[in-house]
């Protein structure tokens, strides 16, 4: 699924993750989100700043996916997880671990990988 037109804020964010300079968007009350955000959905604050993403996150929930969408056909089975990186949370695929070893609380780093199926970029978590 190659795309000529970038999804600016999303692709910029992936670029930054790939350069090990990941960030999230935080409001003045400490609520964290992925870009783009012009307003905090929690408190309505418009005072948002980019903050460096913590190096390590913690798996909050996970699932091994056996029936994927067509764009992930050759990736399956794979582990999908939500991980908390400070106040921001990210959804990604866990690689570099036996699915049986992924647990709530597993500490992971985030990087940019490729989908086996399409070669498109994808958010990847790797146990640290």
């Amino acid at each position: 699924m190659s795309e000529r037109v970038r999804n600016g804020a999303y692709d910029d964010w992936l670029d930054a993750i790939g350069d090990d300079e990941g960030y999230y968007v935080e409001c003045e009350n400490g609520h964290g989100w992925l870009p783009p955000r012009r307003v905090c959905p929690d408190c309505g604050s418009r005072e948002l700043s980019e903050e460096p993403l913590p190096e390590a996150g913690e798996v909050a929930t996970h699932s091994t996916v056996h029936v994927p969408t067509p764009q992930f056909e050759d990736d399956a089975p794979y582990v999908i997880a939500v991980a908390h990186f400070g106040p921001a949370s990210i959804t990604g695929m866990v690689r570099g671990a036996d699915p049986e070893d992924v647990e709530i609380g597993t500490v992971v780093g985030v990087e940019v990988g490729e989908r086996a199926t399409t070669g498109d970029r994808a958010v990847v978590f790797r146990p640290r």
Binding site: N7, Y10, W33, L34, P41, A60, T61, H62, S63, T64, V65, H66, V67, P68, T69, P70, Q71, F72, E73, D75, Y78, I80, A81, V82, S89, I90, T91, G92, M93, I104, R115, D120, A122, V123
Partner: protein, 388 residues
């Protein structure tokens, strides 16, 4: 305030109709609802219509006027899209239009054609109810999203795959006498547990099927029903809707659906009831865990306590508060945009005593419909009561 009456309601058979066009499916349900209502077509003021994936399944946008035309109407016709809660949202606006006196008679309904595109494309289409950039491109599927919620629920409250299996077994048993159901097949707990995994801890039998079908109902003002002597004892007495962050990861808690709870609070207050008054409910069990979250959100169970309800028999047709007497999405089928109004159809028939499972709640006078879109980023609740 006048409570809209359900004057006529109908569904097509739910299942695989890969060669039937959406307009034909909706025409069947819509014309049957009109016929049952006894309301002349000329009196219909508007169509409120739910559909989710029409562009993908049929390359067809702008379905409102198309579906109105299919049932012989030239009226204001608008399509509602709120993922799997599309026709729940349609009911809500129809109810409001009648209550505020702008319209007296409306047709509500929904249709989804899904099997013609195949399982892979349907999985892809359903996934776009999630956040495309940050969930779908990260590998999220719809079953995976509910699997993440199930894992979180088990971690926070306890529970097992076997508890969830009892939800599937119950709903299949309920559907055995529902001739409009997609899956009229008894299943066992072991069969659920042994089925292929879709997204752990959810297997094939934890998931609703991919379904074609349509639903429709004629709603009228109380005054119209009285003036025309309609046989329409069931009223919509409460409506509620609430929302949540679209992406699951942006929520505080993955083991609850606060949008549904918010919609419930609004709908119960609107109807002047509380959870103790609810005799039965049709809830959005797209996955077994979804029924658990639903019965907690509608106030029948405290958070963390709904997991054992089916296993204990409390939500079976023999239990105190039967859930999904139709078979639910799990066995009846889930033509996404038609589901909200299909719940209305079931509840109306149960309250009127004409549903095949009405004998489960012979004295029922309050039924609740819980319709959720995505991972309940949209939720609508409607309360139905028997009026003299």
């Amino acid at each position: 305030m006048s409570d809209p009456r359900v004057a006529g309601a109908s569904v097509t058979r739910f299942g695989k109709h890969p060669e039937r066009t959406g307009r034909d499916l909706f025409a069947e349900a819509g014309l049957a609802a009109l016929d049952r209502s006894g309301v002349p077509a000329d009196d219909v003021d508007a169509l409120y219509y739910g559909n989710f994936m029409g562009e993908i399944a049929e390359h067809q946008g702008h379905q409102g006027p198309l579906m109105a035309e299919a049932v012989g109407l030239t009226v204001p016709a608008t399509r509602y899209e709120a993922a799997c809660a599309s026709s729940g949202a349609a009911i809500r606006d129809a109810v409001r239009a009648i209550r505020n006196g702008e319209q007296e008679v409306v047709l509500v309904g929904g249709m989804e054609r899904m099997t013609n595109v195949g399982t892979a494309a349907a999985t892809d289409a359903l996934a776009i109810a999630a956040d495309d950039l940050y969930e779908v491109r990260a590998g999220m599927t719809f079953p995976a999203a509910y699997a993440l919620m199930a894992r979180s629920y088990f971690d926070e409250h306890g529970g097992t795959r076997e508890d969830l299996a009892h939800v599937a077994v119950k709903n299949h048993e309920h559907a055995l006498v529902n001739d409009n159901a997609q899956l009229q097949k008894e299943i066992s707990v072991d069969e659920v547990l042994d089925a292929p995994m879709v997204a752990e801890p959810l297997g094939l039998y934890d998931a609703c099927p991919i379904t074609d079908g349509a639903s429709a109902a004629v709603l009228t003002s109380e005054d119209y029903a009285e003036r025309h002597g309609l046989d329409a004892p069931v009223a919509v007495t409460g409506t509620g809707q609430d929302g949540d962050n679209l992406a699951l990861h942006d929520r505080q808690n993955y083991a609850a659906t606060p949008a549904a709870a918010g919609a419930v609070a609004e709908a119960y207050a609107d109807a002047g009831i509380d959870a103790d008054d609810v005799d039965f409910a049709e809830v959005h069990d797209c996955f077994t865990i979804a029924e658990v979250l639903a019965i907690e959100s509608i106030g029948l169970y405290e958070p963390g306590k709904g997991i054992s309800a089916a296993r204990e028999g409390e939500t079976t047709r023999h239990g105190e508060t039967p859930i999904n007497l139709s078979g639910g999405l799990k066995a009846k089928g889930h033509p996404v945009g038609a589901t909200g109004v299909a719940q209305l159809v079931t509840i109306t028939k149960v309250l009127e005593g004409t549903h095949a499972r009405a004998d489960a709640v012979p004295a029922a006078d309050v039924g609740v419909a819980h319709n959720a879109g995505g991972t309940a980023a949209s939720a609508t609740i409607h309360v139905f009561e028997v009026k003299a």
